[in-house]
Symmetry: none
């Protein structure tokens, strides 16, 4: 069954707000196994909305609209949808009562235009809205249906979860399940090259690569009658991916991040870690501290942006800085070793580089970043050369540093 989404609102076309409703509804529909081929955004304009709605109604089984159910003149989604479906608007008694209650509870007066929100297309299912004055609407027509939802996420989200999701679930016998296999330490195209054959001969389940900063995510998706069956279908594919990528895979849970995977490794091995950052200036510690509960394993971190700080806080020898420069493998290793000592930690991940835009030279260009991970006596050191903006270089440095930290723990312990 196909579903199509139309978001109505000039504020979306002006870029005043980000369309989070689209992501939310799309994800839910994907979980329901509904195939979404199109999403559109159109302004509060009757002519264009009507045209778009007709096209959508012709090509899709389920058409979901969000926005334009407000009380004001320019809210015309309901009026336009009713027109396209050839249904008159009639007042819904309960909707009218609920609007009265809603406003009364808030000590607000019901203005004339609020009553507009109690009007619904004849013969439609009304989705009452405890979080606002605009009820949602479902218009059925044989196998097809059109669903109207209010635009504000705090009204749309609960209405969808509590009323629309169960409704669509009943229409949809087959479900879709997916797993996310996440890799670090390999680029998107090399990752894809390793699984081209799988991608080419796939039908159900399917595998698709997504590039993230410093990571590649492979999504396995299966369609089936039940969850168990879907997971049964995905199992061999995941096995195959594990065989091909080994421990480049850091998780197969959609919500697990690289820093969470590192947290689990620290926990499993009872290791403490600290950070010694120059060009990333705190962002690396910031990523690790995304993980609640890491405080047992990461007690402190050092932002040593200046040479003085590298000497003072990490005990990097002035000689090393003088001889090899702040951006060198020697300094990176001295930072890592010194950081571990200073924090009395098992591990220290150190980053030093030239984030730019200035400060680059012939032999040390902008984007040159050395990182070293000290593991109880051994330093795992890496040279990276990035391009792009200062913030991009720093972002990639953080991703590589996390990857190096993970690799060091895996190889060393």
């Amino acid at each position: 069954m196909t579903v199509e989404l139309i978001c109505v609102g000039t504020e979306l076309l002006l870029g005043n707000i980000v369309n989070t409703n689209a992501a939310f509804i799309s994800e839910k529909c994907a979980m329901l196994g509904l195939s979404m081929y199109y999403q559109s955004v159109v302004g509060d304009n009757e002519g264009r909305l009507e045209e778009l709605l007709k096209t959508a109604w012709n090509r899709s089984d389920v058409v979901i609209l969000s926005g334009g159910l407000g009380p004001t003149q320019d809210d015309l989604t309901k009026e336009t949808a009713a027109k396209v479906m050839g249904r008159p608007l009639v007042e819904d008694a309960r909707a009218r009562r609920e609007i009265e209650d809603f406003m009364a509870k808030r000590g607000r007066l019901v203005t004339e235009n609020n009553w507009k929100q109690a009007m619904v297309p004849k013969g439609s299912l009304v989705l009452y809205n405890p979080n606002g004055t605009a009820p949602g609407i479902i218009m059925e027509d044989g196998e097809k249906c059109m669903i109207l939802l209010p635009g504000p996420p705090n009204e749309l989200v609960p209405m969808f979860e509590e009323q629309v999701y169960p409704y669509l679930h009943r229409m949809q016998p087959e479900i879709i399940c997916s797993k996310m296999v996440k890799l670090c330490g390999i680029g998107e195209s090399s990752a894809e090259t390793k699984i081209l054959d799988l991608i080419e001969r796939q039908s159900n389940p399917t595998v698709a690569p997504y590039a993230k900063t410093g990571e590649v995510h492979l999504r396995i998706t299966a369609k089936a009658k039940s969850e168990q069956e879907a997971y049964r279908l995905m199992e061999p594919v995941e096995q195959e991916l594990r065989a091909r990528f080994g421990d480049l895979i850091y998780t197969d849970e959609p919500e697990v991040t690289l820093e969470m995977a590192i947290y689990e490794l620290l926990k499993a091995n009872g290791l403490t870690v600290t950070t010694a950052e120059s060009c990333t200036g705190g962002l690396l510690a910031g990523r690790l501290i995304n993980v609640p509960g890491i405080s047992q394993y990461l007690k402190e971190g050092y932002v040593t942006y200046s040479n003085e700080a590298k000497e003072k806080l990490l005990g990097v020898p002035a000689e090393t800085l003088k001889r090899h420069g702040a951006v060198s493998p020697q300094t990176a290793e001295a930072m890592a070793e010194g950081g571990a000592k200073a924090a009395d930690a098992d591990l220290c991940i150190a980053v030093t580089g030239i984030a730019g835009p200035d400060g680059g030279t012939e032999e040390k260009p902008v984007g040159l970043v050395y990182m070293s991970c000290y593991c109880r006596g051994t330093c795992y050191t890496e040279k990276n050369q990035y391009t792009g903006s200062r913030s991009k270089i720093r972002e990639y440095s953080v991703a590589s540093a996390l990857t190096l930290l993970r690799r060091a723990i895996l190889d060393h312990f």
Copy 2:
């Protein structure tokens, strides 16, 4: 002139990612005075993309596509667009060289599928991409044009700002100029209330508020034949805003960020600063170090996530931690004062709070964050209560800490 946006990517239809590109491009097009009537999202499917592209090309002057320019099999935006425009794909020598360089710089091998990215529709303007391997493309046809951009925001955003925006600007006879007056230390609704009268009686120039994390941006936009005229029109409005908001305004330059404004203050007053972070765990230092050249003023920073670290690195008395707890104004002030001493800095901005999701109590709920700014002997301390996810709480804490730091410098020196 009308513009239409088509975002290509199955991950958007599956709701894996939020479509921030659409908001970004829409906002820029609005600034250019281009009228956007439609936005669409379509998957990596040639048939549907082709159909949508034909419709868009018929009804709009400028069609912008984002996504689907990657090296993989399912990236087919370029191929489909070239087909619709009836242009063969030819290899672009420079694009090929840049792909080689890009991969070489990263010590990565160029896989066969990368070369696909060096192919461009015959006779198109190529937008070279320093941040990735997919060049952007502009195909002109009389008064109209089709613009193809890579999907990853860190590639799309700089390419749009540096190459597409100036290009579209040249196509527009009547130009739109805008100034961004940025405020910190005031909420969106209070800011809007202060200028409702301006907003209501506006025509040209217009003023519109945008809420950003911990900031409010007021955009003044004027339509005029020339830049001088536009700026002449905006001048009195800006004067009015300055009269109403005073030094809550930290800049009127679109590209100036709050951390840059703080950097200028440090420079002007010859002040050094350090950071002492608990719940923000490095993100605050990370924000400040976004500014190139801040190294003279921020030499080091401390991530003191544990109580031990607060005692050891910042000299917070065990007694204070025991008596008032780690999340208290007393600890925040001890962290700020101790941090300044440890780093021998004029200023230290300290943050300690409960980012959650756990660790909250009746009297100290999740989202409670204390911050203190030490200025040569005086502590400016603030209590904040945030709601939302762990990352939102940390993000808002960083924004408030920067605002407090700026306020302290302004008031103290």
